[in-house]
Amino acid sequence: MFEPVSPQGRDISNLFILTLALGGLVFALVTGLVIFAIIRANRHRRTAGEPRQVSGNTRLEIAWTIAPAVLLAVLFVPTVMVMFADEPGNPKNATPDIEIIGHQWWWEYRYPNAKVITANELHIPAGKKLLAKLMSSDVQHDFWVPRLGRKMDMYPDQINYLYVTADIPGLYNGNCAEYCGAQHAWMLIRVVAEPQADFDAWLAKQQKAPGVPSQPPAQPGQTAGNIANGEKIFLNNTCINCHAITGTTANAEVAPNLTYLGLRGSLGSGIIQNNSANLARWILNAKAIKPGVLMPAYQFSTQDLRDLVAYLEEQK
């Protein structure tokens, strides 16, 4: 169940299977008894007179009070064990490996030790048990990646902690699991678990400013965007009121950090794939793609848009 890839996830999955198995037994018992009672009744159907007027049996009552109680008591033991194994509680002194901040409707990820801030795509080293600190900047959200294990709520007025582990490298999808307004549906989570070396390389790259990426060789039949001009457009527009890119004057934190945007798989927290055409559509009218989104629409000339898109997409 859930195809878990973390110890926490496996604990829960096993517990769930156990519960379902016992529950299945109870269900089979109840259904079996009902069916059997009906069959028996069918046999008696033709006999005349009223059936025997039985109205109770104290011994039976005791039996079917005690039996479920025992069953539940047995289940309670592993329940508490898994609870204590997988709940970090509120570790006072530990510094979290990652900080996850929910926003309407996107994710902010911080690596406090490396002083890296990124958005919408969480990179983690595979096989390591990480401690994540969960917060929200506005309303309630909830971090849920089914294959990694449990979900955990995020509040503006309470800090929660969660273990994040993926034993096997890969891409793990999740969702915001607490209703948070218009675009709760498209607040998807992408977790990229990679071997430690790859992760280290990724993190090191994030720490460096992308600067102005070099102009890629022009494709035949396509007009390439002018990257240097793209940077100017970005910095001279209101983009910088909300977004940040490392090494530039853009340092606002109310919207996803766009540093190395070209490395990410999706835009708009998962609603569209990350490619140049989609990015151009997004910038012109994000609301048309993700109704209710808190990013305004822009008007750019075709060339300016091309330049801006190239600047953002070539950061990789």
Binding site: T31, P51, E61, K151, M152, N175, A177, E178, A185, G292
Partner: protein, 576 residues
């Protein structure tokens, strides 16, 4: 024997106003039977509204990345759907059953406070109208049926929808509270002479417990709503983190209401089942005292279990472990009921009327919902499954497969009494089987969707393997379900127009409501039969096999009256 008939006291309240059947007659009525019918009628109307909302939602969810609805519209729909179904369908439904049946079952003329009864009904109606007026005003609420803070704060929900929602619920809440109070007083003070408290029919007993549950459960909701309104309209700080408030306080207040609320809804349906199963098995209810006691246990435990809706909030292991335990405990008294019902039909002579079909399938479907409920009580599995479609499946199994099937059973059972007409059994079988199929088709697969990772309250989802297919199956099922509801409505209309006339006691049942005409006269009874046990009509029909002359196992124990049916001194006073 016949000298022992007890006279029902003369009515002291005003007789109905207006010509029988006229609009005024209904609106100005304080008669519990008319109010009961109006409660149930309003519930059915709202059920169709809430159901159509669900159908539109299911249409939107029928395929991945569907663009039929805007996210705002979808969010408004599930908020209205949930609020409608809980507060405007189920509450008036069970209250309606209670208001109609309790006075009849205890041999009384009316409820203790007829005027209050009417007030409660109209407050509920106005609360519902206010909620729906928000559509006309242009801003239906969109915060979900439990409206967690701080999404409801002014800065995140600036439209008036939340205010309509809160004021509407406040009105219905106060209306329901008056009904609860009325049940308590009626059942405690207005029983026919000679009927002892533990001799009332199970449905009535459960309405007494439910009365206490109602008056204990709604005040926290009212308090939460008042605080929310103060926050939104007077700039209060209760739930607003920016001003020092606490969003988690709201959750505590809401769920200390919200959890007992679901038992408040389900208990009366347990009562219905406890009336229907014995009659169609030709046996008394098995383990009356245990079913009665377990209802009390469920009512008490429901308060202790409220925070199982908050396992993912991050309140710590000690806190969660406590509520895990109390949640598990609730399964025990519920199981007691389930097993007693099975024992009731065991060895009986079962008549598979439509009512009985619904009642028996209730046992099975409710058990499915109950067991998925228990998996939520296992805290770590809740951490995976909370707020997913697995949860949506859970509560539709307990609310629809459980409670609503019981309500259908009750509607088929008492329809002849209430209207004086029989509902067609032929149509009834179709309604049942289509509803059974449609229901399971719609909701069983949602368990799997939830386990695959589909969160609830999403207007749209990515095109992942099988997601579209499973959602489509659920959507198709919901239309089958709707079709069965449509058939039911048509068969009700047909029965009212040209249905077969119903005899006074078509099912050969044993409680007092069947001792009067169908439909009952305005004063309910001229006289009620003597009450020695829990089945007065059985005792009347079987002078030599009285309930109180029999042991639990069905053996004759001679003239010794059953422990719970000793003749009281009242009877001596009354028997001439």
């Amino acid at each position: 024997m016949s000298q022992e008939f007890v006279l029902v006291p003369e009515p002291t309240d005003a007789l109905p106003i207006g010509k029988t059947g006229s609009l005024l007659y209904w609106i100005a009525s304080v008669d519990h039977k008319l109010l009961g019918i109006m409660y149930i009628g309003a519930a059915l109307i709202f059920f169709v509204i809430g159901g159509v909302e669900a159908l539109v939602m299911r249409l939107q969810l029928g395929s991945a990345r569907n663009t039929l609805l805007s996210p705002e519209a979808y969010n408004q729909l599930f908020t209205l759907h949930g609020t409608t179904m809980i507060f405007l369908v189920f509450v008036p439904m069970v209250v309606g059953f209670g208001v109609y049946l309790v006075p009849l079952q205890i041999g009384a003329r009316d409820m203790a406070f007829p005027r209050l009864n009417a007030l409660g009904f109209w407050m509920l109606v106005f609360g519902g109208l206010l909620l729906y007026y928000s559509i006309i005003a242009g801003s239906p609420p969109d915060s979900g049926w439990f409206a967690h803070a701080p999404l409801t704060a002014k800065q995140y929900s600036s439209a008036q929808g939340v205010d309509y929602w809160a004021i509407g619920l406040l009105l219905t809440g106060i209306g329901t509270t008056t009904a609860g109070l009325n049940f308590i007083v009626t059942i405690l003070t207005m029983r026919a002479k000679g009927m002892r408290l533990l001799q009332v029919p199970m449905f009535t007993w459960i309405m007494l417990v439910d009365g206490f549950l109602i008056i204990g459960t709604l005040p926290p909701l009212n308090a939460a709503l008042v605080m929310l309104l103060i926050d939104r309209n007077l700039g209060g700080a209760f739930f607003n983190p920016q001003a020092g408030g606490s969003s988690i306080l709201y959750q505590h207040l809401f769920w200390v209401f919200g959890h007992p609320e679901v038992y408040l809804l389900v208990l009366p349906t347990f009562g219905i089942i406890s009336e229907v199963l014995p009659v169609f098995s030709r046996k008394p209810l098995f383990g009356f005292n245990f079913i009665a006691g377990s209802a009390l246990a469920i009512a008490f435990l429901s308060y202790a279990a409220y925070a199982h809706h908050m396992f993912a909030v991050g309140l710590g292991n000690a806190f969660n472990a406590f509520f895990a335990m109390s949640t598990a405990l609730i399964a025990i008294p519920t199981g007691v009921k389930i097993f007693n019902w099975i024992a009731t039909i065991w060895g009986g002579k079962i008549r598979f009327t439509t009512s009985m079909l619904f009642a028996v399938s209730f046992i099975v479907l409710f058990t499915i919902g109950g067991i998925s409920g228990v998996t939520f009580g296992i805290v770590p599995t809740d951490w995976q499954t909370t707020d997913s479609y697995y949860l949506v499946a859970h509560f539709h199994y307990v609310l629809y497969g459980g409670s609503f099937f019981a309500v259908m059973s009750g509607l088929y059972y008492w329809f002849p009494k209430v209207t004086g007409r029989m509902l067609s059994e032929k149509w009834g079988k179709w309604v049942f089987w289509l509803m059974f199929a449609g229901f399971n088709l719609t909701f069983f697969i949602q368990h799997i969707l939830g386990l695959m990772g589909m969160p609830r309250r999403v207007y749209s989802y990515d095109d992942l393997p099988n997601w579209s297919l499973f959602n489509l199956i659920s959507t198709l099922g919901s239309f089958l379900l709707a079709f069965s509801v449509l058939l039911f409505i048509i068969s009700v209309v047909l029965a009212l127009v040209k249905g077969e006339k119903a005899p006074d006691n078509p099912w050969d049942a044993w409680t007092l409501e069947w001792a009067t005409t169908s439909p009952p006269p305005i004063e309910n009874f001229e006289q009620v039969p003597p009450i020695r046990g829990r089945r007065p009509l059985w005792d009347l029909q079987h002078p030599d096999d009285q309930d109180w002359q029999r042991s639990h196992s069905g053996e004759k124990i001679g003239g010794q009256p059953h422990e719970a049916s000793l003749p009281s001194e009242h009877r001596k006073d009354n028997s001439q």
